[in-house]
């Protein structure tokens, strides 16, 4: 009897072994394929002209690419419908893998150490990947597509992407506007507040942090719970990993400067200033500290993960927080819609707060921001770099593909009216906010090149949320009432930042993001980050603010921030 069991075990083990073996073989097959397609690269480059039987066969084939993005995201199903449509027409299907359970740099480091790369990668640590020889230089590919080269970036912008070794390795997929800007959202940082709070208070003018916390305090005193009895959380802060900007950099905005991220640039003197030690920042933390001690801040704020944070916001209990729109809004607003919370006034609107009344409000960035620190890159393991690059170009240049990614399938996900204007019905809007529908049907390839603004047809926006009519119709009543009360048409009006063009150095964070520990400034930058991660929450939670702040400042100074500031100044000086 026992013998039988053992035989059975062995037999099953062997079966599985042979199965796994097959997997390995398939892999090898793919590797040889890629070698083969390397030689036939020219054929792959021109896809549509296929008179010759041989070429059409190779171009009609669907190539499966993998892509790793060091951001959390939702994986789409492997049988996703739009992904299949894209594969049928453009010959490329991408399996996106997102960051889970690790920090971004740990995940990138793991890839480098194992030497196994996906076909595409978008990481926060691009310079490490370049060092490891993991990326394919894209210069020649870019030159092959002159139209793309001219449209996507200006020559100066392309230059920003050039690495010390003289090559361009990645292309930032965001921040490009086509035609007229139709931005309706404030896709930047702000202190957000739920419209139900403003409505309750009779839509007051909130201009300073003082007023903001006072309002939250009053509201929660009068309304301790939501309609269904869940207790309200007046304010929460995300401190996890690189997203700790939510606690860290509000000081620069409160002082009236734009989002240079890691430093303040004083335009008059062309000098770098450190906002970490500024009076505005100190006042901001003092405000947070007193709010915390009044019980206004979520006690779990310091240890929550990004996902816990998003889950918390999704319940509608959180009245306010400081964050970037893209960091929370897409997921949270979809859930609000699904759960009917938008009708209860849970939507967030941005407030352009400053330390004192009457200071300049620079929260909103009006011009296109090119972040040269990251973007989509093709790795040396890529099965077919030519085809992979062609698809990047297609994403940027092919309006049909763009519409399919962001609007969906015509007559299914959106309709076209007599004037050629795209619109969605309430049902379609609801469907598109449903996560399971997103997984099975919609496919944005959201880290591939994409446009804001008006599409090539001159009528429609490139993205549904920027379509004015769509935006108007998609708003729940409480949000609409709020905008009306403040005389705003949309989020951009709501925050009401002054329009001012930023210098060519903007944003400075795109330089500091690429600092490595090879220079003293880079070491200081890494250490400052660690100290801030540890001490900023402590400052907020401290029973005695002054001593907590002094502790923090002492630790902060020991990181030699002057090394970092000096290197940033040197970069800024190149723009003089």
């Amino acid at each position: 009897m026992k013998k039988k069991v053992l035989t059975l075990l062995l037999a099953s083990a062997l079966t599985v072994a042979s199965l796994a073996g097959c997997g390995g073989k398939a892999d090898d097959g793919a590797a040889t394929n890629s070698a083969a397609s390397d030689s036939g690269s020219d054929a792959a480059a021109d896809t549509d002209g296929g008179s010759d039987a041989d070429t059409s066969a190779s171009s009609g084939e669907v190539t499966d690419f993998t892509m790793f993005i060091t951001m959390p995201g939702s994986e789409i199903n492997s049988d996703n419908e739009i992904a299949q449509m894209i594969a049928d027409k453009w010959g490329v299907k991408i399996k996106e893998t997102w960051l889970t359970g690790q920090t971004a740099s740990e995940a990138t480091g793991t890839l480098i150490a194992s030497g196994e790369y996906p076909d595409y990668i978008d990481s926060d640590d691009m310079s490490l990947l370049v060092d490891a020889g993991a990326l394919v230089p894209l210069d020649d590919y870019i030159d092959q597509y002159p139209e793309f080269k001219d449209t996507w970036f200006t020559p100066e912008e392309w230059e920003k992407f050039r690495q010390p070794d003289g090559h361009i390795y990645w292309i930032n997929p965001f921040g490009n506007t086509m035609g007229e800007s139709t931005a309706t959202t404030h896709n930047d940082e702000a202190f957000w507040i739920q419209v139900r709070v403003l409505e309750w208070a009779g839509y007051p003018e909130i201009n300073t942090l003082d007023e903001y916390f006072k309002l939250l305090e009053d509201y929660v005193a009068a309304n301790p719970t939501m309609e269904d009895g869940t207790p309200n959380i007046p304010y929460t802060i995300l401190c996890e990993d690189w997203r700790y900007f939510c606690i860290e950099n509000a000081g620069q905005f409160l002082a009236g400067y734009p989002n240079d991220g890691s430093v303040i640039v004083n335009k008059d003197t062309m000098t770098i200033e450190d906002y970490n030690t500024s009076e505005d920042t100190k006042k901001y933390f003092q405000e947070l500290n007193s709010a915390y001690n009044k019980g206004l801040i979520d006690t779990e704020f310091a240890t929550q993960t990004y996902d816990e944070y998003i889950a918390k916001l999704s319940t509608g209990r959180v009245l306010g927080m400081c964050d970037q729109w893209w960091d929370f809004a897409y997921t949270v607003n979809d859930v609000f819609k699904q759960q009917g919370l938008d009708e209860q006034g849970c939507n967030y609107v941005p407030l352009g707060l400053t330390t004192e009344e009457g200071m300049v409000n620079r929260w909103h960035t009006y011009d296109d921001t090119v972040n040269q620190a990251s973007g989509v890159a093709i790795t040396v393991d890529c099965k077919d770099p030519d085809k992979a690059f062609k698809f990047i170009v297609d994403c940027a240049m092919d309006q049909e593909l763009h519409d399919l990614r962001f609007w969906g399938v015509k007559d299914v996900d959106y309709n076209v009216d007599a004037d050629g204007l795209y619109y969605r019905t309430d049902e379609q809007r609801m469907e598109c906010a449903d996560t399971s529908y997103q997984a099975s049907h919609l496919c944005q390839y959201s880290y591939m090149p994409q446009w804001g603004g008006t599409s090539r047809d001159g009528k429609n926006a490139n993205k549904p949320e920027e379509q004015t009519s769509e935006f108007q119709n998609g708003m729940a009543a409480p949000l609409k009432n709020c905008f009306d009360a403040y005389g705003a048409r949309n989020y951009v009006d709501m925050i009401g930042s002054v329009v001012e063009t930023n210098g060519p150095w903007f944003p400075m964070y795109s330089y500091s993001n690429n600092f490595t520990t090879d220079t003293p400034g880079g070491v200081a930058w890494a250490k400052m980050g660690e100290i801030k991660h540890e001490y900023l929450p402590k400052v907020v939670m401290g029973a005695d603010f002054d001593s907590a702040w002094e502790d923090y400042m002492a630790q902060y100074e020991s990181c030699k921030p002057e090394d970092f500031l000096g290197e940033m100044q040197a970069i800024l000086d190149t723009f003089k």
Binding site: T299, E300, T303, H533
Partner: protein, 311 residues
């Protein structure tokens, strides 16, 4: 009998080698395997003396001597990490050992065989759960709506929920508790076996002398398992440095990193996240060296303890 003796005296002969052919073949393959998987990585230690760049490889990278070690010992974070590793390792070792002994001794006092069996079976269970599950459960239990805050608030000890993972002072106790929860029943197995091996006549004699149960535990049971306790303690001291990864990695966060990070996590942070293979390797070498030193000392002590036991 004589024949056996004759055989033992035999020297290595060709015939013997031939007879042992199968053994030698196995030994050969296993040794090759061992060389590749356990000994070859030691050559990677060269990286600790280089400024290793993945693109260049070991042969192409520049030698920097002891620079990486200098960096390590000048880095306040590394010193903290050493402290954390030692302190958490020691704390875990002490608490888990005490809990296991306490549990084994008290379980032994349970008269009902069924109850004893049942409790013991339940006590093993956490050992079979992965750290992923254990830390997940712990995270929920200690969350603001979890059972611990619930109990504390109901009993009036606190009025507002405590965020246990935000305060460095709670971290070591939490890790120690997690280890106790997971391993007490499992570690008790050996002590229970040792208790069973104690001569029952000792207890009978003590009963006749009117010894209470506590006295019997104190004067018979504990001395009876003392050698086992000593040996296990000494054996485990050698492993103190190896016990600091999964729990700390899974439970740690930015706010408690000054007390939560261990050498292994430091290696992961520098070696993998910052991609400084050299520094990661150097920290790893340091850990290996300390481990070996600990083991040598403990083996020496164990031998001495063993000798004392003989007399």
């Amino acid at each position: 009998m004589a024949r056996v003796k004759q055989k033992k005296d035999k020297r290595i002969t060709w015939k013997e080698v031939k007879r042992q052919k199968s053994l030698l073949i196995i030994a050969f393959f296993v040794t090759v395997y061992g060389f590749i998987f356990y000994y070859w990585p030691l050559t990677g230690w060269v990286m600790a003396f280089q400024n290793y760049k993945p693109a260049k490889g070991i042969l192409g990278s520049k030698f920097v001597g002891l620079d990486k070690f200098k960096f390590l010992f000048q880095d306040a974070a590394f010193i903290r990490v050493i402290r954390n590793t030692f302190c958490m390792g020691a704390l875990n070792l002490v608490t888990t050992t005490i809990m296991a002994i306490l549990f084994a001794v008290l379980l032994n006092e349970i008269r009902s065989t069924i109850a004893k069996k049942l409790v013991q079976t339940i006590s093993y269970m956490p050992h079979f759960l992965s750290w992923i599950i254990v830390t997940g459960i712990l995270h929920d239990a200690l969350s603001s709506t979890g059972i611990i805050n619930d109990l504390l608030m109901r009993s009036g000890v606190i009025t507002n929920a405590i965020n246990f993972f935000a305060h460095p002072k709670y971290f070591w106790p939490i890790v120690a508790f997690a280890n106790c929860w997971k391993e007490t029943g499992w570690n008790a197995i050996i002590y229970l076996a040792a208790i069973t091996a104690i001569d029952p006549s000792l207890y009978e004699a003590a009963s006749i002398d009117g010894a209470s149960r506590l006295q019997k535990i104190r004067y018979i049971t504990l001395p009876g398992i003392k050698p086992t306790i000593m040996i296990l303690l000494l054996m485990n001291i050698g492993n103190v440095l190896n016990a600091g990864f999964e729990v700390q990695y899974l439970l740690g966060n930015g706010l408690v990193q000054s007390v939560s990070q261990t050498i292994d996590i430091y290696v992961l942070n520098w070696g993998i996240s910052q991609n400084d293979f050299s520094l990661g390797t150097a920290a790893g070498i340091f850990k290996s060296a300390v481990s070996i030193a600990l083991i040598v000392i403990c083996n020496y002590l164990a031998k001495r303890a063993g000798e004392e036991r003989l007399f």
